[in-house]
Amino acid sequence: MHHLPGRKPLARAIVGLTVVAWAALLARDASMMNEMDVRHAASDLSGVLVQWLLMLSAMMLPILAVPVKHVYDRSLKRHRFRSVGLFVLAYFAIWSASGVLVAWLSALSHSRWLIFTLACFIVLIWHCSPGKQRCLNRCHALPSLCAFGLRADVDALGFGLRHGTWCMWSCLPLMISITLLPEWHLVTMAAVAVWIFAERLELPRRPVWSCRVPLRLWRMACANVPAFLSGGANRLLLTYEAKPVTLP
């Protein structure tokens, strides 16, 4: 894991687009006044896809910071935004393809709680599997990229497709289960977004059957939030003071 020093425009763009996506989701949610609106939205394919893309933007943009920085850093200055654009485009294209499945499941009007429960069971099994860990590991891959011409475009697209594929397999069961949830969409979505972000903060590890809880984000919060809330001079993530120790 590395950071975004000196790439403030990139970081700002990612934060800004994430905020816009969440605002749009909130606005759509507020506009659905009753159960009929919700049922209508669920049966409208384009509506489902728009909702799906907004969900993806809101939840996935923060975890794209590292690969986006990778593409930016390894591209010629005149190609940077083009390459980043192609990477993001390919990433969302892969996820959009899965939107068809989501649309079909969303159209199911009967036994939603039953289907949701079944989906949660699948999520749990998948989460503990080596396959999921393997997908998470591949999400940390930062490959070489060509710098010139068509091959630079192809590489940016290819990286986006691969990254999107691993990301999708890692998170798709979780994302589908959210869309099947009859109520509390936004709250659940926010919780799952935090979970996915926390998962991505963890380092790759050996893929084995294991019930993994991504605790690093929690430890970060424990180490920083109290000092932040007490009005420390420094900002979040920079305020932790290790305890004094006795030297040997």
């Binding site: 590395h2 390894r74 200055k77 860990q133 891959a141 710098a147 590890r205 430890r219 290790a242 004094p244």
Partner: protein, 506 residues
Amino acid sequence: MTYVRKNVWELGDDWADPILWYARAVADMKTRPLADPTSWRFYSAIHGIDDDLWRKYKYLNDTDVKPSDDVIAEYWEQCQHATWYFLPWHRGYLLTFEAVVRAAVVRLGGPADWSLPYWNYSKLNQAGLPPGFQSQTWPDGKGPNPLYVVERYGPAGDGNVAVVNATLDPMADHVFIGEYLGGTKGFGGPITDFQNAGNSFGDFENQPHNTVHTDVGGIGRTSRGRGLMTDPDTAALDPIFWLHHANIDRLWEVWRLSSPENLNPTQPKWINGPTGQGNPKFVTPKPDGTAYEYHPGQLTDLTSLGYTYDDLLPVAVPAPSDRLIKLGVSLITAKAFEEQPMVPPGEPELVGASAKGINVVGAGADAQVTLDQAPRKALAMSLQNASLGEQPDRVYLNLENVTAPADGAVFKVYVALKSRQNPKNHPDLLAGTIALFGVRKASKPDGRHAGNGVNYTLDITKIADRLHLDGALDVKQLQVRIVSTESVPANEAVKIGRISIYRQSP
């Protein structure tokens, strides 16, 4: 009291007291069970452990009882590589190791002021392995010498151990923190989280640290076996490891003292260590087996830590004004530049890159780096304007995503060497030497690096300046030649994802 670490080659005798007592203490630590936090193997596993390699070299067997999972998770595989924590983590590790050895020395009836010697391989006639480590027996000719290990093949793979590829060039760096990719790696390395072997080495870690590891460990010429020092997962099993790192620790202090510009990071994230980012803490066992938790901010002042070195004299490095004078700046202006406060380097910009996927086998490989017109012109303009009093860009060659099935290969990298030119006749075109240390681990797709391999960055500013003055820099392509110091067999091929050149404005 202040313990003084002394030069192992200047103790007065091959088996001077500090070496003899070190050997006795090592022998004592080696008798302790693996799960004992003060045992030789436990301490080595803190740096790194690979069960298969340890079994192969007979440091792990079926009768060994490992510590609990919690203890393993807390202590083992902590070593910080390719990170700005490289120097402070190893300082703390060395500090408690020395205390554990000292406790053993005292218990065996040795001096209470025993301190760890250091191996200054850069000093004239001291590049060879100290004799106490070469001998297979104790000084009386009996028994196995605990300081001797079979798995030391040396730079030529023939068992003759000497440091031949190390330089102290990075001592000229004035900036501690570097870029993750592209520009300067800094003296101390790029900003990272807790990084048990990361992807981008700091300049000083790459050279001399990594090259000393591979020069000592090497690769057996016929067996193709790796020396213990060649791989981070076995390195700390070799008793010479600790004298090497004492020298690295000494050179960090030399660097800090040699210029007021050479400052350790002041960011709280460095001072307080990685726990603020939710990462594991730095922790090593004290002589009584209890935990010593530390963070870099505690370890910057040797006086408060209670030890020093017998030699902290500065290393000769070129002055920044030397470069400016070569580029046509007057002596007075160049000296005036040196007086100006240092400006942090700007964002690196890609100037050019090779095609993807370079395989290094046999004697080496050649690659063409295509340079993009706009940054190439901007670089040329920057160098041109140096004579007008503007700080010129610096130039960096990057070997990206280097992967390999095993560590130990050493490469000399040349820039702008023509196809028929013999590299040995053109040391002026040598960009630098890289040693594969930690690359095996970084190449595993399900390892902590996700198989991304390692990035190496070499400062080629001096070569770029010369090419500029010769009118040979503003070209469409630059040749890069990678020369292996020993032939690389096809089944150990080293893969380089891409070779790139970046410029970085001051």
